[in-house]
């Protein structure tokens, strides 16, 4: 099952060591090593995965030329001040992912055939990293969504279960930053403790029952038992965190906004705070924008309706406005990250921001040639990496590069064939 060869995440890479040794020339060997360890662990890498679920109008997204000397497309022009902070990709997709809208839950997993009546999802990019780097923060990961209702999420466990996303910004803020009264903390600890003893009891119970079952059924009970143990472990971690005070932030609890672009800003501000306080290093944001109105001048129609423009000019014009506004919101977020200095770097340079869609084209639901943007996170950016738009390269190759950047030494991810060509770490 486990394709990943995890390392502890804290070890000192050779490259880092050499780099650190280089700048600390003259210092005794041992303190150079210390400096490197400090540098490596104090500015960790983080990752954000964002999917907008109705495609991005390809003609306005993809640049015409490839390489570093390319002309910004109309959409990318909205974030032109960050041209050297992002890479735009074309010709990428998840090999056997089809099924139009059904593919929205495989954007970060790459699991084949989401349209199939017997579909099974696989682990998502953030969760593949959570086992390694998630343990260092209060929250292993933070799945969020923007939607009219529900908890649809980009984050999926190893056995293909969705980790529900939170859509209420205020709730997330409270969870992250509101320090409860001493009696609240006491009650929380009591509940965590009680939860653990319940899980312990039902875990034992399942072991006792297991003996009388057929082998196939034993496997089902074993999955139950594993889940019980994993939850126990998580409750244990939560108990440890519960006694530590939550970080203080200089911000009010946000209110959910009715319109798309406003809500994007709310979520991005929240994500920024979560990163700044190092509450988590792994965030996903699924934008299920059907039925959400945009609040953009000149746009009166609903998003899903616009994505099925069926060639109508008046629809495409509105679509262009909505999507340009989305990019502007991303731009505001990137600016916030860049303005947040941490030691000798900034949050953008240490955070990979992946933005894209599961649909290559919202009008025909094709899942090939996906619009993909990767900003920040310590890569050499400022280029359009163009792959074959007919015979696509695996998007999972980008994911594998991202995992490596996070310090997760995986050999492969989903349908990857290696790391992505042309994207180098700084």
């Amino acid at each position: 099952m486990n394709n990943f060869n995890f390392i502890t995440g804290k070890s000192l890479s050779r490259r880092h060591f050499l780099k650190a040794a280089g700048i600390s020339l003259g210092l005794p060997y041992i303190s150079a090593m210390d400096a490197a360890v400090k540098k490596n662990s104090s500015v960790p890498y983080r990752m954000i995965g964002i999917e907008t679920n109705l495609g991005i109008y390809p003609q306005s997204f993809f640049p015409k030329e490839s390489g570093s000397n390319y002309t910004l497309s109309p959409y990318l022009n909205e974030i032109k001040e960050f041209k050297n902070d992002f890479t735009v990709f074309s010709g990428l997709s998840h090999g056997e992912v089809g099924g139009g809208h059904a593919s929205d839950i495989t954007f970060l997993t790459g699991a084949p055939h989401p349209e199939s009546a017997s579909f099974r999802n696989t682990i998502s990019l953030d969760q593949a990293a959570a086992d390694t780097i998630g343990l260092q923060t209060r929250f292993q990961s933070l799945p969020l969504n923007i939607s009219k209702r529900g908890n649809k999420s980009l984050s999926w466990t190893r056995n293909g279960i969705m980790i529900p996303a939170e859509r209420n910004a205020e709730k997330v803020f409270i969870k992250l930053f509101m320090q409860g009264k001493p009696e609240d903390v006491k009650r929380e600890l009591r509940n965590l403790n009680s939860g653990r003893s319940i899980l312990d009891a039902v875990g034992e119970r399942s072991k006792a029952l297991n003996k009388s079952l057929s082998k196939t059924d034993q496997q089902r009970l074993e999955q139950y038992y594993t889940s019980v143990r994993e939850m126990e472990h998580r409750l244990q971690k939560s108990s440890e965190w519960a006694v530590k005070p939550k970080p203080k932030v200089n911000a009010q609890a946000p209110k959910n906004q009715e319109y798309l672009i406003d809500q994007m800003d709310v979520m991005f501000n929240l994500m920024h705070l979560a990163l700044e306080t190092d509450s988590t290093r792994l965030i996903t944001l699924m934008m299920v924008i059907d039925g959400v109105f945009s609040h953009v001048k000149g746009v009166s129609d609903e998003n899903h309706d616009l994505s099925h423009h069926t060639g109508r000019k008046q629809k495409i014009a509105q679509l262009n406005k909505v999507e340009a506004a989305q990019l502007q919101s991303i731009g505001r977020f990137m600016k916030k990250l860049k303005d947040s200095k941490i030691q000798d770097t900034n949050l953008l340079d240490s955070t990979m921001v992946l933005y894209g869609s599961n649909l290559g084209n919202g009008n025909n639901h094709i899942t090939k040639n996906l619009p993909i943007l990767l900003a920040g996170g310590g890569f050499k950016h400022g280029q359009h990496l163009a792959f074959d738009t007919k015979n696509n390269s695996p998007l999972s190759n980008v994911f594998l590069s991202m995992l490596h950047r996070l310090g997760v030494e995986a050999d492969s991810f989903a349908s990857s064939t290696g790391t992505i060509k042309g994207l180098e770490m700084v």
């Binding site: 056997e96 089809g98 809208h101 055939h113 199939s116 009546a117 017997s118 579909f119 099974r120 999802n121 529900g150 908890n151 999420s153 466990t157 056995n159 293909g160 279960i161 969705m162 980790i163 529900p164 009680s194 003893s197 319940i198 899980l199 009891a201 039902v202 034992e204 119970r205 399942s206 029952l209 079952l213 057929s214 082998k215 196939t216 059924d217 089902r220 009970l221 999955q223 139950y224 889940s227 019980v228 994993e230 939850m231 998580r234 059907d290 039925g291 899903h304 309706d305 099925h308 069926t310 060639g311 109508r312 084209n361 009008n363 025909n364 639901h365 094709i366 090939k368 007919k390 696509n392």
Partner: protein
């Protein structure tokens, strides 16, 4: 891995199975499926013949099916096997596969244990704890599916997310079930006048509604200007403290936010039953005057264009309006509002604090009077309206106190007042708490009783130790009885004995199987008693019980859940129809569509109608809204009733119902491919493999310049596409005469090119903007060579093989009922059931329940 198997085979030639020695594969298959060509990624020359590897096994089953279905070898091949040759190889291969599967089953055992789906979990908690409206389903991630069904064990994985949610959901349920009050809350009865209720004030202000006094517009009602021209607007002003007899709604949602006239949260302060009654009627609003509800010109006032209501359908007859009651935004009841004839209706709801009840004017337009400054709001509006005179609310009514849910958890332990207690319990937040004089004895008894109900079987004393010890450990930490008990209950509701079906023993297992199949929930007392006496397994008793369960109102859960999964009705809201092309779509139609199919299938079960009704029927189950869509006159009111299909109306069976047309289209366009796959897999029993990677897509276009058929024909010119499409497109083409909302069409609706659309009505208000574009061609040719022109011909083709319809239905029903896929070896049992004489749906349900596959 593969290489190891091959190596093993070479070393042990005795493994070579009888069937693989035939020359069949070499003669007819290897040309394409060898190492070099390996078409469809299948290399038969190197495919091991030992079936113990699951992947190899799956491939050979696929080979079997493709030969059996006549797909392989391809028809165009000159060298084709004789039918005896085919029969011979299939027989040999088939028995080999069965042998292997039985061997596998013997060593690993057949799975008979699966966890509950989230829907079953919610139903079970509702029934167990006597909380009819408990909502916990959506706290869980959606369940996976296998062959479209979420009841199949293979799809029901479990993760730490579930464990966490089981704890939270149990906590929520236990809290709702416990009542911290020694006496029942005071029941009150009050008549509310809608204009003074919650959200109605917004409706009045935005011209969503107007107040009447003595049957006329309230004399103190005024229209006020806000702001200056050109950006100014108007509002309707009426002091809500004044009296009004009647509230006339002029748009659907009653105000700008569109969720109806709501009794806001503060109205429901205590849990219990509430009896509602209200009076309503329909009308036509003519610039302040009230006229009979006859359809006509709608005018929002001023410079805006007027439009015409559906006179083509209703003529000058009085229209029956419809009003629905929503509980927490979920449509729960519908009522008819007759023209100028106030009618009083009653309904009863189980509500808890925080629940919101609203009244929604379904048959009105989304937008009513305009409020631009130059217009005069409701006073220049001409159009339909629904009057709501008053709403009476009486409650909470609790037939017993404390309620059943509480007594079930706490027995006769008293509810005490914290202020009067000598020792104040720590964990209790409110004023009251449940007390026990002898906590340990109480716990022992209550936990045993609870566990037996929850585990659906008798529980030995030793088995409850796990849970009693949880209780004791909390008590040891100085916690109070109630708090400690809740933790023990939570543990029971998180235990595998509760969450996994099939853990029951003996006949109790059968009792659970039957009740989860038909009620989606735990067995009741009668089933458990029959299991206890060992009589349930007798065919006669099982039949009687199956009938009893089917006749119970809870069987509705089967009707809804099965059709949701079998026909994809669960996806009804997956797409919203394009507003330009389908402005005639509205929430009333959406709800009616579901009602139609559910009512139709319910009748098939109740009256034991033949599976042939899936594709053809003499009657329809429709209401006024569907009659309007289908073009059938003189059907009034919201209630679904059976109507004989009039001459010339191309409807009949499930396959022409609007719900099915909606879920098999994307909201903007229909695709014969998508519908073809739907028909193949849901109705015809033909599996369609997923498309290969890198297939070119079809770009939908609704300008009216190209039809989807023309686009498809182009697509099929690709040799690699033609094969599969020849199989899956034709059934979809037969349905081309039905649009994305289930209307019948001769021509496509288009955004740009085409004739003016006449006689259509926009449910949003305003003019209809779509055009009548290119003509529809619903003809086609099946792979077998049978030609058809339209749904009637196609229906006849389907009807000519009723056995295939029965086979498909049995396959779906077996998967749903057993929670297991129908395996290759199971096909023998499927064929045995298929060869019974019965075609009636109820008979088939009985056959399935009596089958050894069900009892496994």
């Amino acid at each position: 891995m593969k290489h190891i198997i091959i190596a093993l085979l070479i070393l042990s030639p005795s493994l070579k199975a009888e069937w693989s020695k035939t020359e069949f594969f070499e003669k007819y298959c290897h040309e394409c499926h060898d190492e070099d060509v390996s078409k469809g990624d299948l290399d038969l020359t190197n495919l091991p013949v030992a079936l113990n590897d699951p992947e190899t096994y799956r491939k050979w089953v696929n080979v079997y099916d493709r030969i059996k279905d006549g797909d392989m070898p391809p028809a165009k091949k000159k060298k084709r096997p004789q039918s005896e040759e085919i029969q011979k190889v299939l027989k040999a291969l088939g028995s080999s596969i069965v042998k292997e599967e039985l061997k596998y089953q013997k060593s690993l055992g057949r799975s008979s244990v699966r966890r509950m789906t989230r829907l079953e979990y919610e139903n079970t908690l509702r029934d167990l704890l006597h909380l009819p409206t408990l909502s916990v389903k959506t706290m869980f991630p959606a369940d996976g599916t296998y062959e479209g069904y979420d009841k199949v064990g293979q799809a029901l994985d479990i993760s730490h997310v579930h464990m966490n949610t089981y704890l939270e959901a149990a906590d929520k349920a236990l809290r709702q079930a416990t009542f911290h009050s020694p006496n029942p809350p005071q029941s009150t009865k009050k008549r509310h006048y809608p204009h003074a209720v919650g959200s109605a004030w917004v409706a009045t202000r935005t011209f969503g509604a107007v107040p009447l006094v003595d049957g006329k517009l309230a004399p103190t009602y005024k229209i006020q200007k806000v702001g200056q021209a050109p950006s100014g607007y108007q509002v309707g002003v009426f002091d809500r403290k004044q009296h009004a007899d009647t509230f006339v709604m002029l748009n659907r949602g009653g105000g700008v936010h569109g969720s109806g006239i709501s009794f806001q949260k503060k109205f429901i302060k205590n849990t219990g039953f509430y009896n509602f009654s209200f009076s309503t009627w329909g009308l036509r609003w003519e610039k302040g005057k009230i006229l009979p509800a006859v359809k006509g010109v709608v005018n929002v006032g001023g410079h805006r264009e007027a439009w015409t209501e559906n006179i083509r359908h209703y003529g000058d007859k009085e229209f029956v309006h419809t009003i629905s009651v929503l509980v927490n935004k979920v449509p729960t009841f519908y009522f008819d509002a007759y023209s100028l004839k106030p009618t009083t209706y009653d309904f009863k709801l189980w509500l808890k604090p925080g629940d919101v009840v609203s009244f929604y004017a379904n048959s009105l337009y989304a937008k009513g009077p305009a409020n631009f400054q130059t217009l005069n709001g409701a006073m220049s509006y001409q159009g339909p309206g629904i009057a709501l005179d008053w709403i009476e609310v009486a409650g909470p009514v609790n037939p017993v106190w404390p309620p059943k849910s509480h007594t079930f958890l706490w027995g006769d332990n008293p509810i005490l007042d914290r202020n009067k207690a000598k020792v104040k319990p720590d964990e209790i937040l409110g004023r009251y708490y449940v007390h026990s004089e002898d906590p340990e004895k109480s716990a022992q008894n209550l936990i045993k009783k609870f566990a037996e109900k929850a585990f659906r079987r008798p529980v030995a004393n030793g088995e409850i130790d796990y849970f009693v010890s949880i209780f004791k450990s909390r008590i040891a930490k100085n916690e109070h009885f109630e708090a400690a008990m809740k933790e023990a209950y939570k543990a029971i509701l998180t235990a595998p004995d509760f969450l996994f079906l099939g853990m029951e023993t003996g006949d109790y297992k059968l009792a659970s199987k039957l009740s989860y199949f038909i009620w989606g929930s735990a067995p009741d007392e009668e089933l458990l008693q029959l299991a206890s006496s060992g009589r349930l397994n007798s065919p006669k008793v099982l039949e009687t019980q199956t009938n009893r369960l089917l006749n119970d109102p809870k069987a509705k859960r089967f009707i809804v859940d099965f059709t949701d999964q079998w026909l994809d009705l669960g996806d009804i809201d997956a797409t919203s129809p394009d507003k330009l092309l389908y402005p005639d779509f509205d929430p009333w139609l959406r709800d009616s569509m579901l009602d139609e199919t559910r009512s139709f299938f319910e009748d098939m079960v109740k009256s034991n109608k033949s599976v042939a009704n899936i594709v053809d029927s003499d009657t329809l189950h429709i209401n006024q809204r569907l009659a309007e869509l289908y073009g059938i006159k003189d059907v009034y009111g919201n209630e679904i009733r059976e109507v004989k299909i009039p001459e010339g109306i191309q409807r009949g069976g499930i396959i022409t119902q609007a719900s099915v047309m909606k879920v098999s289209a994307n909201g903007t366009v229909t695709s014969p491919i998508v519908r073809g796959i739907w028909m193949s897999e849901k109705i015809m029993g033909v599996h369609v493999p997923p498309p290969p990677a890198n297939v070119p897509a079809i770009d939908p276009n609704t300008e009216g310049v190209v039809t989807v058929r023309e686009q498809l024909e182009k697509h099929r010119e690709h040799a690699s596409c033609a094969g599969c499409h020849a199989k899956m497109d034709p059934p979809g083409l037969a349905l081309e005469s039905y649009d994305v909302i289930g209307g019948f069409r001769d021509a496509y609706r288009a955004s740009k090119k085409g004739k003016k659309a006449e006689g259509y009505v926009s449910s949003f208000g305003g003019n209809v903007k779509f055009k009548i574009g290119l003509p529809v061609d619903a003809s086609g040719e099946l792979k077998s060579g049978e030609k058809f022109d339209g749904i009637r011909d196609f229906r006849d083709i389907l009807l000519s093989d009723k056995k295939q319809l029965k086979k498909n239905f049995l396959h779906h029903l077996l998967t749903y009922a057993t929670g297991r896929k129908v395996s290759f070896a199971d096909r023998r049992e499927l064929y045995r059931l298929l060869n019974t004489e019965e075609y009636g749906v109820r008979d088939l349900i009985h056959h399935v329940v009596q089958s050894p596959l069900f009892k496994l």
